[in-house]
Symmetry: C2
Subunit: 209 residues, 2 copies
Amino acid sequence: MRNYIADPVVKRLPAYYRHLRALEKMGILQISSQDLGAVMDLTPSQIRQDLNRIGAEGRQGYGYAVPDLREHIAHLMGVDRPHRMIILGAGNIGHAVSLSSSFPLEGFETVAIFDTDAGKVGKTLAGLPIRDISELDAFVKSETVDIAVIALPADVAQDMTDRLLALGVKAFWNFAPVDLHLPADAVSLNVHLTDGLEVLSYQLTHLND
Amino acid sequence: MRNYIADPVVKRLPAYYRHLRALEKMGILQISSQDLGAVMDLTPSQIRQDLNRIGAEGRQGYGYAVPDLREHIAHLMGVDRPHRMIILGAGNIGHAVSLSSSFPLEGFETVAIFDTDAGKVGKTLAGLPIRDISELDAFVKSETVDIAVIALPADVAQDMTDRLLALGVKAFWNFAPVDLHLPADAVSLNVHLTDGLEVLSYQLTHLND
């Protein structure tokens, strides 16, 4: 994997994308590195450096064209193409991810949900039937699956990931509170919800230091 | 706010805490910076630098005492003290946060849930009644509230935050896809779920570059 854009820049791309979409929605079609920096809480020089790194050059006295830059970043992140997701685990996280009303998941379509619980299997979630886990292999072999959402307890997350890897799934959005072990040709992103809560606790604890 | 520990170190504290708890559970009570580095995917020198920064010195030829280090970090993050949370919004995110079976929220207790939807108010979630938003002010004035979970749509998140700030709430765990504007004496942590999904999309897109 040729990591031609440094990780910190990659991690900032969604924030660029989010702010550019908001700006465009407000009718702002052109922005300077100064103004974009103010919106994003970054220095103008950091903005220019980041955007230069992804091949987007601002023009002297003009800045950046908001729609062009948004499209460029969308293409770079691959979010201008649809992604088909399956959700493993129809618990609370599975519910929150499948029902995207609280956060937009444009271009990311949930195509199947699996669980082992007989009490859940057959019920409908986000317009999809909750399938028994025994149907997983046949489903993944016959359908295109881009991303697996691991919404499972910690103790079964790795086993399920190994099973999905054997079926050819390459990308994992992991909500289980463990780090997944993956081969070099697969990728994962961990959502450790409690980590954020603990950082918030730290900040609150030291608010008056 | 005297920021005596740099942000990147603070952001790594939850990972230290998580790994130390896992090690302790496995009966590993002593660990070298080499081994801890291997577990955490950091260099031994980075481990020593981070831990030195938080006042935890390893001993030559011994390393670190796992339980002591875990307790030290818990105290530093304030997670050895209970936190009372209220949840604004009984939608999917509100459900996922209140029903903590998918991720542990030790020490973080949800004490009330509020919504504006008459169809939800009065129903029970995680053993708590969903309260009408009109009860918010009286509740916050009479009870201790450490953290507000903003599980609301983007367009109402800031208004609700302002209302809570006026009531004296100082910490916000924000799941709305907007950045909250806060005074200097309040803190927030944003969970932008789609940001992670977009980073994952980037990694998947560039897997074979």
